[in-house]
Every structure is written in C-alpha cells, then in structure tokens.
C-alpha cells in the first residue's frame, strides 16, 4: 500500500514537473534591491523609490533584505537571487570586500549588478548610485566647521554617536568627518556605539550629556536618536536649549520624525542622502542596461580606498541635501 502511494506521488510529481516545464512562459524580468538590513528605517525611502520605478517602468521588483546587517547574510541573499535567476540586483553592501566575490559571481551568471548607498568599488558591478559615505561624513565635518566659524572658543569638544562598532559605512562616515575637522580646533572627545539600537542610542546620548553638560557638540554618524519623540530625550533637550549658540548638533539622515526635533531647535544641520532616488535610479538604469540603453547621469567620481589609493568609480550621484533650522520647513513640506 505504502509502495503504491509512493509510486503514485512520484508519477504525479514527475508529470506535474513536465507539464509545468512544457507550459512555462518566458520568465518575467525581475530586479531585486538588497538593503543592508530588514527594518532599518533609513532604507524605507529606497524601497518606495524601487516600487515607484517598478510601477512606472512595468518591471517586477523585489525587496530582499537580510534580517541583520551582516555581510555573510547578504551573501546568502545574493546567492539565492543568483539561483532564482533575477535579471538585475542593486545592493547596499555591508562590507565592500565581503560582497565582492558574490557580486562577481552574479555578474558572471549574466545578472546586471549595481550598488547603492554603500559600494564595493573593486567588484564587477556596473555602477554605484548614491553619495559616498566618506563624502557624507566629510560634508558633516564641514558643517560642524561652518557652525563654529565665528566661535572664539579655543577648543570645541564633540561627542560622536556611532552604530555597530566596525560597520564599514559608519566607519567611512567617521573617517570623513574626522578628516574634515583635522587641523581645526574641533576635536572628537567621545565615541559611543549604540549597536544600531534606537533605545541604546537614546540612553548613550542622555547619559553622556547629563554627565558632560559642558560638551560643545554632538555628531550623530546615523540618525538613530531622531526616530523617537523629543520627550524621550530630556537631558539632550535641556543641554541644547540652554545654549543654542554654542551647543551644536550635526547628524546624518533625516526622517519624518526629525521634524519635531527641528521644531524645538534640537538639530542644527542634518545631512540627508536621497535614498528614494537611489532606489528609483538603480532600478531604472539596471533596466536601461538590460535593454541596451545608456545609463543616465553616469559619471566617473573619485573614491578613496582604505589604503588611501584613489580610484575612479562609475557613479550616479544622487546628491545630498543639507537640512538646516532655516530651511527644514520647506524640506518637510516637499
């Protein structure tokens, strides 16, 4: 009886498989976008951009994210997409070297691979869309210099908030920030890591500010504390509002929830990277490559590698917006 059941199941499976294979239509083109981590709010506009491009251009788009911001998990997602036979992949790399091998394997398999937000410059990817993290950090440093250009203080002490220690994108931002302020009277005196955890980021900022009310400035290498309501940060609010002229805050990332912080004068300058365009233009230009059309807005931009050497990166610069107390209302209106 069992044998009969087994044989029947096999026959059904084989027949079904043959029917499916015979009747299969030409596979619909799919373009996958792979952020660094599921649930990271920074990437949500990129998902919206990807979906809008999919709708506008009539192509199926997939949002495939690893549950944690780890390069190995991203490699596994990429391998799955190669097996699935997608036509294109846009990826924000958790680490440039760790992703290089799998990107090259995908390209060798005939998939158009591009990077956005965080590049893998030595891989075979077609182009990079976004603003270089080092550059974003550098712009943040320039903003800090600008905010203190009229200050006659001999030494400006900055506390720095980072995410997961050693994360490549955040390290690049920190390096850019420190390079920009190098040689000035601005000095980073504290670095606290919140492990990408919003609750921990609030605890670190609150504890450090309470213990060091004379700190001059904060540089947030990511916008974790601005996902919460200002009411969750009474010490920080007290510190900033006590001396808005001398206490300054520069942060990367702008979220809808950042507006409440601007309303209270709790952020001086926020560097916004256009994640929506990263998602939209990645899908659009992957499709252009697949259709034999040129990539729009492509230019070679200098990029500094870890060893200090400079390479030219084929890039679509999605630009940065500097959101200030003076212009934030216009930004959020848009």
């Amino acid at each position: 009886m069992k044998r009969l059941l087994l044989v029947t199941m096999l026959v059904v499976l084989v027949a079904g498989g043959l029917l499916f294979a015979g009747g299969a239509k030409e596979k619909e083109r799919e373009i996958a976008v792979v952020p660094q981590q599921l649930g990271n709010v920074v990437f949500l506009p990129a998902e919206e951009g990807m979906k809008a491009a999919g709708k506008d251009l009539g192509v199926k788009v997939l949002w495939e994210a690893p549950p944690k911001a780890e390069a190995q998990l991203q490699v596994e997602v990429m391998e799955g997409l190669i097996e699935r036979g997608v036509a294109g992949i846009a990826i924000s790399c958790n680490h440039p070297d760790a992703l290089q091998g799998v990107i090259n394997r995908a390209v060798a398999a005939g998939i158009v691979v591009t990077t956005f937000d965080a590049d893998s410059p030595l891989s075979d990817r077609a182009f990079f869309a976004g603003t270089n993290n080092y550059q974003a950090g550098y712009i943040s440093g320039q903003e800090m210099l600008r905010l203190y250009k009229d200050s006659n203080k001999a030494r400006i002490r900055v506390a720095l908030l980072e995410g997961i220690p050693g994360a490549f994108d955040i390290e690049s931002r920190k390096r850019g920030f420190k390079d920009a302020i190098a040689g000035s009277n601005i000095e980073v005196v504290y670095e606290g890591a919140c492990d990408d955890d919003v609750d921990k980021s609030v605890i670190i900022v609150e504890d450090y500010t309470r213990a060091n009310p004379n700190i001059d400035a904060w540089f947030m290498a990511g916008g974790w504390p601005y996902i919460v309501q200002p009411g969750a940060m009474p010490e920080y609010t007290k510190w900033k509002q006590a001396d808005p002229v001398n206490h300054k805050v520069v942060t990367l990332d702008v979220f809808p929830s950042s507006e409440a912080f601007f309303d209270l004068g709790l952020i001086d300058s926020a560097i916004d990277q256009d994640f929506y365009q990263m998602g939209y233009l990645s899908v659009k230009n992957i499709l252009n490559i697949l259709d034999g059309k040129p990539v729009e807005g492509l230019e070679d931009i200098e990029n500094e590698l870890d060893d200090g050497s400079i390479i030219m990166v084929p890039s679509i610069d999605t630009g940065t917006k500097i959101v200030l107390l003076e212009n934030y209302k216009d930004y959020f209106k848009d």
């Binding site: 949500l44 492990d195 919003v198 309470r210 213990a211 996902i227």
Partner: protein
C-alpha cells in the same frame, strides 16, 4: 510575671530577626547585592555625575525594562527551560499596542492590554510547542524568535509606529512622586512575583519542577500545565517590557528588542539563577539587571568607548557563574 512574658517576646523577636538576617546574608542575592554596592561606591568616588539623583533615576529607569523581561525569563529558567524569543515578543507586542493606539484609536489602557494578551498568547504557543510537541525550549523559542520578529515586520511593513500621545506615553515617560513610572512598575511587578514564587503553592511547584521534573511529576503535579503557565506569564512580561520601552521612546519599532534576550538572560544569570533549573530569585534578577545598567552607565560616564561594553559584561557574567559554582561546590 509580665516582665518575664515581655522578655520572652523580645527574645523570640530577636531570634527571628537573627535567623532572617543570617538567611539574607547567606543568600546568593546578597552576594550579588554586595557586588552592586561596591560598583556604586567605586563610581560614586570616581565620577561626580554618577552621584546625581537624576543620573541614578535614569539608570534605574533604563534597567527597569530589562528587569521586567528578566523576571519573566527567571520563571522560565527556574523550571530548567530557556526562552530565546524575549526580544522578538518585546518588539512585536510594542508594535501591536502602539498600532492599536495610533491606527485603531483604541484608548491607552485597552491598547496596552491587547499588547499584553498578544504577549501571553505568544508565550502560550511557546509552551504548547514544548509541552505538546516535546520540542526542547531552545528550539521552540528559537522558532518563535524568528516568527514574532517577522510578524512585526509584516504588520508594520518595516515602518516605525509614530504619533503616540499622552495616554500611552505615561507608561514610559510619566512620573509618580517624581520617580519615573517604569521604576514603579518594576518594583510592583518584582513584589508580586516574589510573593508568587515564595509564598504560593504554584511558586513552590515551579522550583520543584526545575529541581527535579520526574520527582515532581511522580508527586502528582501537572508539570505540563506549570510549563504552559510559566511561558505564558513570561510572554506577558516581555510584552510589558516592550510596551514600556515603546512608550519611553514614543515610537513602536519592529526592530526593537533585537538581542534583548541575551541581556535579559544575562541579568538572570548574574542574579544567581542556575541555567539547569531549580534556583533563582526575583531580587537576584533585579540586582543582575541593575549591575548591567550601572555598567553601561559607568562606561558612558567614564568616556570609555562602547566597544568595551560587551567585554566587561561578558566578564561579569563569567565571574558571577564561577562564584556561584564555587558556592555550590562548597555546600
């Protein structure tokens, strides 16, 4: 005659106090408490900002959520089980309660209750997998870790739940007699569960179950029902912790609580509970959570880079367990 009677009463009273004092001093919680006091004194001496009432209240407020989740997993660990789904239930229920409040306009109290019920149900499902399908707790709760986190992403589409207003914010941002609400909640929950574990038959049976499951079964106690109860109560407490955190931050995040299971379990272990079951106290867990909170605060106040945080906490866990092993060997 009256004098003699009075003397006897006084003697009896002093004997009771002596016995009680000795039992407190000999308890594992007391040793951990001494460690905490030493840490506080050291910080008191080296860091003036540590001494401020504001800072101490902030430390207590911050560790109270770990402590509440820790009380839940203390019950589980006393039975000899483990729960890896703490962080995911914490995140999912925080999102459920805030969504109920913001998106469905349900008033604060019922919205919180919905979150707590969801936590209880998720805990019950853990229990059912363990009891009815004989899954090891590690595996059952590992599965729930993924499932609950995934549901949080699905229902929010990855977006944080914003727009919390006064009613629900009181839970995390409010104060009673100038002491933050989360601290009051931690104290009340700690008292309730201390009484539950030490003064009720069910509490005693939970210890018995962890000490020797077979013997407990043979003595006619329904161990399956006890496990279902413990995992469900655990779920409710993780949920409460998650909802308080969402209220404290003013946002429900699907990513909240990622990795909290390790912090909560670490608090329980530092507090003297045995991972093999049968031992552990609520007071120990509160002190364990406090030690972790003080450590985190100390590293920030002393401007030590966060990279060292896990290193220090790792050593504290190891030393706590080694001391406990030494105590057991001595006995």
């Amino acid at each position: 005659m009256v004098d003699q009677r009075e003397q006897t009463v006084v003697e009896k009273g002093s004997n009771f106090l002596k016995k009680w004092g000795l039992s407190v001093i000999r308890s594992n919680s007391f040793r951990i408490f001494i460690v905490m006091v030493i840490m506080c004194v050291a910080m008191w001496l080296v860091s003036p900002p540590f001494r401020t009432a504001n800072n101490l209240l902030s430390v207590a407020k911050n560790f109270s959520t770990y402590a509440i989740a820790g009380i839940g997993v203390t019950l589980v660990i006393i039975t000899g089980g483990i729960d890896l789904s703490i962080g995911s239930i914490f995140g999912l229920t925080g999102v459920i309660a805030t969504m109920a409040f913001v998106k469905f306009n349900i008033p604060a109290v019922p919205a919180v209750l919905i979150g707590l019920i969801a936590g209880g149900l998720l805990g019950l499902i853990n229990g059912v997998f363990i009891v009815k399908f004989n899954l090891p707790p590690f595996i059952a709760t590992l599965g729930m870790l993924s499932i609950a986190r995934s549901i949080a992403y699905i229902i929010t589409k990855g977006y944080p739940v914003v727009g919390l207003s006064k009613g629900i914010l009181f839970l995390g941002q409010g104060e009673i007699l100038k002491i933050p609400t989360p601290i009051w909640l931690m104290v009340v929950i700690a008292i309730i569960f201390s009484i539950f574990l030490n003064k009720t038959i069910t509490g005693r049976r939970i210890y018995a179950l962890g000490g020797n499951e077979e013997a407990t079964k043979i003595s006619g106690i329904n161990t399956d029902r006890l496990k279902l109860l413990v995992y469900s109560v655990g779920g409710v407490l993780y949920a409460f912790s998650g909802i308080i955190t969402a209220s404290k931050l003013g946002v429900g995040q699907p990513t909240a609580g990622n990795g909290y299971e390790l912090d909560a379990i670490a608090a329980v272990v530092i507090g003297g509970a045995s991972l093999t079951g049968g031992a552990g106290t609520i007071a120990g867990t509160i002190i364990g959570a406090a030690i972790m909170g003080i450590l985190r605060n100390a590293l920030v106040l002393l401007s030590i880079r966060s990279h060292w945080q896990q290193f220090v906490i790792g050593w504290v866990i190891l030393i706590a367990v080694i001391l406990d092993q030494m105590r057991v060997a001595k006995k």
